[in-house]
Structures are given as structure tokens and as C-alpha cells.
Symmetry: D2
């Protein structure tokens, strides 16, 4: 059902890095929204992706226009020019800059989307399609929760449709840098996150209110995926197969077997290349079959999952656009459309 919103929602993307590029590619596959342009600070190879894909480029740092010219990239205007031409802005600037940018977006009276690197207070509501799609409808600003929180929200959201959860404990083993980042370490170390709980637990409550969760995090010398160990007390006893089947039914979760060669996150991302998606992404949360167990009494669940930090929020952002933009009020219809257009849940 169309909520009486914009016919073809005009979208601007501020920031064209890991997430911005992916969203531009994903929106291009939708028939109910359109990217008007993307703003970038510098003319590096990521800016060239916009050029190659026909996404009009805007310069977000006044004074840097000449650098784009020198690099042979034509500009469509400034960030303010872009903001004047759109209905909705997606902030994809580096973490913590979204809050700084907000006043500018408000000045232009825009609907605003922020990413999970921002504090939850930056927007009226936080978002995960499967758990609280409706909360974004009619709002002016929404924040799509981070990749890790999205990963927790999908599988724990599924579990909670089967049984209420008691205390949930999770330990996150985070990749310390993205594959395209060469300046960040560690090269050879394990890094504990001093904040306890790490921000992931409290963040999950923004999309699954009332969940009782403790989260602890490490960062490690890897670039491929985050991994989680999740231990959840269950109000109702469940068995292993019931839970695995629930996950298998969710197009945004995949159950993979170590026995099929998925020994580590390396093989999971290698397999993603076979699937032929944009940027060889893995939108789905991967749960390892052999690494899911329930206690003998069925009252505690243990499982291990992996999250492709660069892409699992891509379908969530597309859904969020539909909810925030007033395009679709039915979460299932939005998610189905997103899944179909991006290939989520398809293949293998």
C-alpha cells in the first residue's frame, strides 16, 4: 500500500564510501526510489564509482571543487545544491559526523536517514526492518542500526518469535578494519573493548525494546566479517531443529555447515563471490549449523554467527527508505521487494 508519499522518492546520499556506494547501487535496482546524486569530500577512486555508474557527484567540502576538476570528474554542484533537489537524505558520512550534518539537513526540511555509527539520539527512532519497521513510518529522522546490531536483531528477533528470552549474553569478535582499509591495525593482537557492555547490547534495545542483553566485544586482526557467540536463556524450551528451521525460513539469515567447507569467515566470503551480487556482498547473517546447540533442558540456546559488516545493512536501508519515505506501510511487502531486487535469500 502506498502511503500517499512521493511518487518516485528523490534521494541524496551524503558520503560515498563503504555504505554510500552500496546504497547507490541498491537503490538503482528499485522502481520506487531514485538517487539524485551523491556528495563526496574528495575525488578518490570511490568517487570514480559514482562517475562510472552515472550517479551525479556533488562536492561536500567547499573549496575542494578544483580537486575534482583536476581528477577529471565533473561536479553537479555542492552538497547544498544536492540537498535542495531531494526529498530524503541518507547520511553515510564517517561515524559521529551525522550529528554534525543534521542541522543542515533540517534546514532543507528533509527526511533524514542515519547509519549505525551515529548515536541513537541522533534520530527519532532506530530501525531494523524485521523488528520495528512500523516505527519509522511518519517520522522525520530514522537511524538504521549498525551491522552488528542488525545481525543480533535478525536472529534474536527470530528466536523471540519462538520463545521469550531471559538474559542474553553475547561476545562479539569484531574485524578491526574493512578489506579496503590499509591504515588501521592491529596487525597481530587481540583488543578488548573496555566499555562493558559494549555499545551493541544497549543498541539492540532500540529495535527490540525490553530485551535483556549483555554484550562484550573484542577486535581482531581480520577484515572479512564480524563473528558473534550468542548465549540466550529461553522462557520456553526449544530444540535445535526448531530454531535452525526458523532461521532457514528467514531470507536474511543463512544456515551454513562447516562440513560444506565453511570453516571460517574466509570461506563464507569466498562463497559470496559465487553468488554474483553487487560487490560480492553477503547480505545475510550466516549461522553455522554445527555451532548451534541448546542445553539439555532446552532452556538455553548457544550459537555462532557471522556478519558481513559492509553489506548486511543494505537491505535494511532500502526498507527504511520505504517506511520513512511513506512508500510502503507493510514491512513484509517492503522486505520481499528488497530481497527480490537484491537477490537476498536467493542462491544456494
Amino acid at each position: 500500500m502506498n502511503l500517499g508519499g512521493f511518487i518516485l522518492l528523490k534521494i541524496g546520499i551524503n558520503g560515498y564510501g563503504t555504505i554510500g556506494r552500496r546504497l547507490a547501487h541498491a537503490i538503482a535496482k528499485q522502481d520506487d526510489m531514485k538517487v539524485v546524486g551523491a556528495a563526496k569530500t574528495r575525488p578518490d577512486f570511490k568517487a570514480m564509482d559514482a562517475v562510472n555508474r552515472g550517479v551525479p557527484l556533488y562536492c561536500s567540502v567547499p573549496g575542494n571543487e578544483s580537486k575534482f576538476k583536476e581528477a577529471g570528474m565533473e561536479l553537479a554542484g555542492s552538497l547544498e545544491d544536492l540537498l535542495s533537489s531531494i526529498d530524503l537524505v541518507i547520511d553515510c558520512a564517517p561515524s559521529k559526523m551525522g550529528l554534525e550534518n543534521k542541522a543542515l539537513y533540517e534546514k532543507h526540511g528533509l527526511k533524514m536517514m542515519f547509519q549505525g555509527g551515529e548515536k541513537s539520539s541522533t534520530a527519532e527512532v532506530s530501525f531494523n526492518a524485521q523488528n520495528n519497521y512500523a516505527d519509522a513510518i511518519g517520522k522525520q529522522s530514522v537511524r538504521v542500526v549498525s551491522c552488528n546490531t542488525t545481525g543480533l536483531a535478525r536472529t534474536l528477533g527470530d528466536v523471540r518469535t519462538l520463545s521469550d528470552t531471559g538474559k542474553v549474553r553475547t561476545v562479539m569478535v569484531r574485524r578491526a578494519a574493512d578489506p579496503g582499509q590499509s591504515n588501521k591495525g592491529p596487525i597481530n593482537a587481540i583488543k578488548p573493548t573496555p566499555e562493558m557492555p559494549s555499545h551493541h547490547g544497549p543498541d539492540l534495545k532500540t529495535v527490540i525494546p525490553g530485551i535483556n542483553i549483555m554484550s562484550i566485544a573484542f577486535a581482531v586482526s581480520s577484515t572479512l566479517m564480524h563473528s558473534h557467540a550468542i548465549m540466550a536463556e529461553l522462557a520456553e524450551p526449544l530444540d535445535r531443529e526448531t530454531i535452525l528451521n526458523k532461521f532457514r525460513e528467514n531470507p536474511r539469515v543463512r544456515v551454513y555447515r562447516v562440513a560444506d567447507g565453511f570453516k571460517t569467515t574466509a570461506e563464507v566470503m569466498e562463497h559470496a563471490k559465487d553468488l554474483g551480487r553487487d560487490m560480492s556482498d553477503m547480505y545475510e547473517i550466516i549461522v553455522w549449523d554445527e555451532c548451534l546447540n541448546v542445553s539439555e533442558d532446552g532452556k538455553e540456546l548457544y550459537y555462532m554467527q557471522a556478519v558481513h559488516q559492509e553489506s548486511d545493512v543494505v537491505p535494511e536501508n532500502i526498507d527504511c527508505i520505504r517506511a520513512l519515505g511513506g512508500i510502503e506501510s507493510d514491512p513484509l511487502k517492503s522486505m520481499e521487494k528488497t530481497n527480490k531486487t537484491l537477490g537476498v535469500g536467493a542462491g544456494l
Copy 2:
């Protein structure tokens, strides 16, 4: 010009890992050749790629048929069944197994292609499209040289069209494992290759006879690309721009700038994702603009390049099929067709 060979060359792929999968995907984009099937030892996730792509699967280890059945993968037959149905076999088995397989291929009277992991003596001739395409015509067996040798052959082949080379010295900094391999190290070390010259130098002579080259190799804790430092004495003095322009004209070489963000191999492979190729591959050899210099007298050239170990040989294999299979006698026509179908040289 068609050499009077097979109308639609029927190809079998023995081994469906890093190279085998890529070749199946690449051949599917050609109109003058066809994959009849691929043989695999085990039903892991790579075998599932064949299923997903409609490539008939054959079992290469007698006795393993039931494992495929258990994994829900239908088999079209045994390796021998596959070999009976084709004109040309591409051996993509692990290094050194090609020689073992050769007798079987000969028994079936097949044209045979081997990869660079085999010794050069395994086939009648070694192959690099740009340098010795014609040598493969009319042969029964050909070996496509390895990723590193291919990288050297492309750029040094280009240089030698501008000036004869005196002594060439190269130091290879090899990635120690592929991105999808989790069992190999080192995690934190630099490993010298005790063989001196490393096999790359002598191997280059199989496709550029007479070149005077010394090669030294290290392996390092990375999975993304090999890198080379190349120092070539020049018979005729050249200048930097002449050489860079030569490289820029070669669709299988790209000149990238550190200043555009290509600080390391990580950014290069990140950018490959933007290009939208199969498996996010980078078929071209990357030469860093800032890292190419000539001595004051123009008589010595220094440059640094990176090689995507998993894919630079893919276009070479397609060309090799055309030469060995008698489909096309003109190297340029074959390369142009391969480049066009795979997108080599396009984008950015």
C-alpha cells in the same frame, strides 16, 4: 579467421576451485566455446557454484559419488564420462596433479590445457596471449603460465616493444594464501623463497624466450594480491611517460595512482568490487604511477606492480582455448573478443 576447428568447442574442466570456477563463468560468456561439465572431488560449497550456474557436475574420485548425493547434488557422471564427451580438457587440479592426470587425458585423445602450477615440461608449449599466442596453434597440449609470470609477461612484453632489455631483476612479494584459504600461514612473518632464482624468472623465458631475468621471492601475510618490484636495464633509453603510455594502451594493464587512493593492494581490490566483474576480479595488472621511474640516463627502468593471483590468467585461458582449439589464429582478434566479453580494460 576460423582455423577449421570445432564449431562450438566442447570443454571439460577438471577441478572446480579458484581457477576452475572462474573459467566456467568466463567461458559461459563466450559464443564460440561451451562448458560440457566440471569434475570435482568433493561436494563442498564450490561444487554448489556449479549447481547454481547449471554446470553439469562430474565426480573425479571414484567412490565419492554418495557424498555428492548426501549433499543433495546431482552428478552427471564420472570424470571419465566427462572426458568422453569433450574436445578439450582444462586441468584445474591442484599444482603438480596435472602431470598425473595427463595420461588419462591422452587416453581420451583430448586437447589439453594446464595451469601454471604445473612444470613447463608437462605441455608442449607455455602460453601468454600477448607474447606467444601463435605457439599454441596446432598443439595438443598447452600450459598457461602462472599469475606471477603472466604479470611479468604483460608489462615486460610491453617494455620490450619499446626497447630490448638487458638484465632484468625482479623481487616478488607474494601473498601467502588466497582469500578463501584459511589453513595456510604465516600469520605474522616474512618468508624468503630459498630457490634463487625463484621459478618465476625461468618460467618467464618459456613465453619470452631469451629474456635475461633474475627473480627473487618472498611470501607475506596477505591474501589479496602479489606485488612485484621490477628493475630492467634498457638497450635504448626511454622516458617515464613513453612507458606509462604503453601500459595505458594495453587493456590488460592499468596504471593507477597512489594519489587517487590506491595506497596498497587493499584499495586496489576494493576498487575491483566497484567494477562489477565476476567474483569482483581484477584481470588487469596494476602498475602504480608514482612507483615507475627511469634512471637519469634513461637506461634503467624501475616499477612496482600488483597481480590479482586468482584472476589475471582467466583471459589468458580463454585466448588459449581459441588458439589450441583452432578457433582463431589472430591473437589480436582473440584478445579483443575476450576483453570485450569479460570487461577487461573497461571501466575507470
Copy 3:
């Protein structure tokens, strides 16, 4: 109190790698035991350490004697020769080989010590000095639990002196190779351990009977230390300082602050070099001050710790020799002596 055992216990070490070397060095600092010799399979640089330190070398693979001779290393005899000359053998062979070696040790009527890579059933009892020293007294065979289990035993053993524990959940982030190992990966991946619980939980019960523990493990691309996240339900409410003080009182545990620069395991092991111990080892378990918290009701404890996989069992082995060898019946006296001779608990 001397138990009437051997005056100067004669010890043989079978295997001279990561643990064997360290034990030879540590025993050399004791006045109540003596290394008669060490057996090795091959004359590599680790064997040279025995030569340099004056530890007689024995060849454990019949037929390899000539290799030692070629390498210029004098042999004192065969493994059987060594076993004939000692009172107690410490098996430091690679994991799972201890069980194979056991019959030979029994043939010589020796007291036997095994390491944590062996199954607990290999010996009559498993050992951790702080928790069950007395169990080893009078036995013929004892197994010192692994580095990870030792780490859990020390800190959870301390916690349990303050309050009984309910369910304990722990997630281990394991280094995938030792610093001196260059063949093992992964280079860039996170690897879940499919066994759930991982062997660490059940193993802990061999030295702390009755503890209710679930353990989950990942392996990561690091060589420096294992890290643990530990979540323990407490029967009696405790506060943060009480627990930290308990740890501070234990010479085999250290409480370090992120604020002092201990951001990761890298800085911890860098600091170990300042302490001037043998092989720059860190015998103590490191608990990060900022990463220890209790829930508001004081009934659940969360903390993060790091374990130097190569050395935390060294003092445990020395104590085990005293218990098994009948040298000392008082755990505290043995531990105090071990700590003093090795410098455990000293410095900073």
C-alpha cells in the same frame, strides 16, 4: 615438608619445542630437581638451544642420529637411554602423541607428566597448582591442563574462594598459531570451533570439579595470546573491587589497565619483554581492570583476560613435578618457591 621422595629428582624431557625448552630453562633454576636430558626428533634450531644450555640431547627417532651428527650436535644417546636414567619423564611431544608414548614410559617404570594437549584420560589426574595440587601426590601419572584451562582455573578458582558460582559462560578468542610457527593460518579470517562446548569447559572440571561451565571458542589471526570473555553467575553478591583485589593478591594473576597503555595483547607482550624473564614470557594471567564488571545486583561477574599460551603452564609444571615427584606436599610452599625462582608475581 619433604615427602621422602628423591633427593634431587632426575627428570627427562621428551620433546624440546615450545614447552620442553621452557621447562628445561625453568628446572635449571630449581635446587630440588635436575634435567638429565632432553629428547628430540630432529636437529633444528630448538635442539641447538639444548646444546647452548648444556642440556644433554637424546635422539627420539631411531635412524635420525646421523642428522644430528651432520648438524654438529653431539648426542648423549637414544630416547630409551634417557628414559633409563631418570625418575620422572615430562612428555612435551606434540598433542595426542603423549598417549602413544605412555607405554614406553611405563615400561621404564617412570613417573609421568603430560601436557594439556593430551586427553585427560591419559593420566590418573589433571593438575592445576592453585586448585588441586594435592591430587597429584602419590600418583604415577599426571596431566597439567592446557594454557587456556590454566587461565580459567586461576581466576575462576579465585572467584570461587569469594562466592560459589552458578553457571559460568566463557568465550575464548584463541591465537591460531604461536609466534614461531609460520605454517599455520588463517591469515585473514575468524574461525568458529564447531565443538560446543569447546574442550576448555569440560577440561576445567578436571581441576575444579563441579563447576558448571559452558565454553565457546573462536580462533583468530594472531600469535600473541589467547583472550577470554568470562561471565559468571555468583551465589553471593560481590563487588568489583573485592574481586580485583583477590586477583591482585594472586601472584599468578595480574590486573593491568588499558589506561596504562595495555590496549591489546600486543602491548601486554611488549611489556613482558621489560620484565626480563626467560624468553620474555608472561607467566601470569592478565585481567584488564577496565574490563571487569559486576551486574547491579552483584550476582553476575563479567571480565576479560589474556593468557600467554606458551608460558602460563611453566610454573604449573614445576609445581606438578614437586607434587608428583614427592618433593613437597604443601601447595603453598611449592608455589612460593616456583614463583620466587621464576620471578612470577615480581616486577611492575
Copy 4:
């Protein structure tokens, strides 16, 4: 011969990190010099090393005194206080800060030593004990060349005693961070150094004037050692054994065999732990026996070596103190004394 300099040279160390700590430890082993104190900016765990070793601590950042107090570390005064009490200052501040500090040192009329991270113009002369010890005598300021340059200077210096060299080409594979650094990457990449020649070649000329050298550098995901491939044209034909024997005679160079287990830099640094030196350092340059070869005509030499970036300059600094401080005019006497006190050239 004593040059009529200071009886017991009073030394201050400004900066107490990787190099500063090691120099304090090394000077403590000498009988002709003395550390008066070390200045540090912050009270982290490295400052604690000074406390533990009885090195008086001075605060080099006015205003930070209270932080030391809070951390329980007593201060002996300010940096200026330290500078007023000494004869010679060794600047061990982070790269490029030495030049900033120089005016302050001059104000106090001090003899000054800088490290290789500074430009050569910072001091009157650059220093390598083996090659130009005498140049430092009678100077006011000297710079000890960097770890990589020291590695080149030792082995190429040796080679040049056997034969003049023609063009020397070297490719450096640099570790991207030190073992105790957790913030620097790359985690998974190879990084070319855009400067060509890299600074190492020109830097070598400051201690071996007239050498004709080209250097090219990569940085890689490792923390253990730098590695070099060196290709040197020889004026006089040499054979392999002559060169290896020359290296074997140099106490500051070691020839190790892959066959003895030294497969990578990991095993080399593992072995360093066996040698029992301060901080498990490897002061010597490691040349791999199997990786040294000469061309058939004996006119070109190829070899591969590894450099412990944290410690190979330690003995050079000690010698430099003697030359600059007027303690000893004979290079051989100084080097012999340094080697003996630090254990350079001993063991294995």
C-alpha cells in the same frame, strides 16, 4: 685509547620507547658510561620500565607531572633538569621530533645523538660503527642510521672489503608496525612506497660514501623483522663461500640456514628468545645461507637478509657514544667491548 674525554660519560635519554628503553638497558651493562635519567611524556607501562630498572624519570611535557604522580611514579624533574645534569643526550623521540628538540640540546651545550628517523641533515654526520666510526670523533652531533640502513651497511660493508661494488639494487620488505604497536595497519595488504628510491638507498651513502645504490620498498602485514633482497654487481668476481665466510666472521652478522628451521622471520625471532638477550632481541643481521648466490661469472651477488628493526642499532648506539663522547678512538676496541657486554655474536 681514551681520548681524554669524560671519565664516566653522563648520558640522558630523551624518549623511552622502543629504542630509548633498549639503550638504557644496554648502557647499564657498560663500565665507561652511565644513564643519568630518561625523559618521558606520559606515565605508561614503558615509563614503569624505568622505575623498575632504577632509571630516574624526568617529565618532558610541562603540565604532565601530575599524571606521573597519579600513576604512582616519582619524577626526578623536568627534561630541562635532566639536560642540565648530563654530558650527552640521546634523542629517542618519535621520528622527526629530534630536529625540533635540537635547539634545546644546543642551549645546554650538549653532545647530541639522533636516531635514523631524523633526516641526515639534523646532525653533522651519520654513523655506522663498522663503516665510519672515526667520522663521529670530535663532533658535536651524530645520527645513528636507521635499522634498515644499518642492515645494509653491515653486509654491503663486508662485501666491499672483498670487492668494489658496481650498481647495487635492493628491495626492502618492511614490517609495517612493531610487535607492541596495535594501532597501525595494514591488516591484509601489501603497500608500495611511492618514493623511488626509498630513503634507504640515499641514507646508506651517508655511511658508505660513493656506493651506487637503488632501493625500492614495500610494507607488509608483519611485526617481526624487515627483510631485504640485495643484488650487487661486483668489480672482482667472488664465490659464494668467500662471501658467506666474510659474513660469518662479522660478529654483527649471522648466517642461518632454512634447513635448520629458519624458514621465516618468525623462526628467527623465536630463536632469539633462546639466546637470552635483553628483550629477546636479535642484534645481528640474519643472512639466509640458502638465499645467497653469485652469478656464474662471479660478478653479481644476490642475497636475502632480515633485520630486527627494534634492536640492530643498539650496539651501534653504544659505539657511537664512545666515538662522540671521546671515550675510545679505536673502532675495533669499541665494537669488541660492545659485542662482549651485549652478547653480540655469542651463542649458536
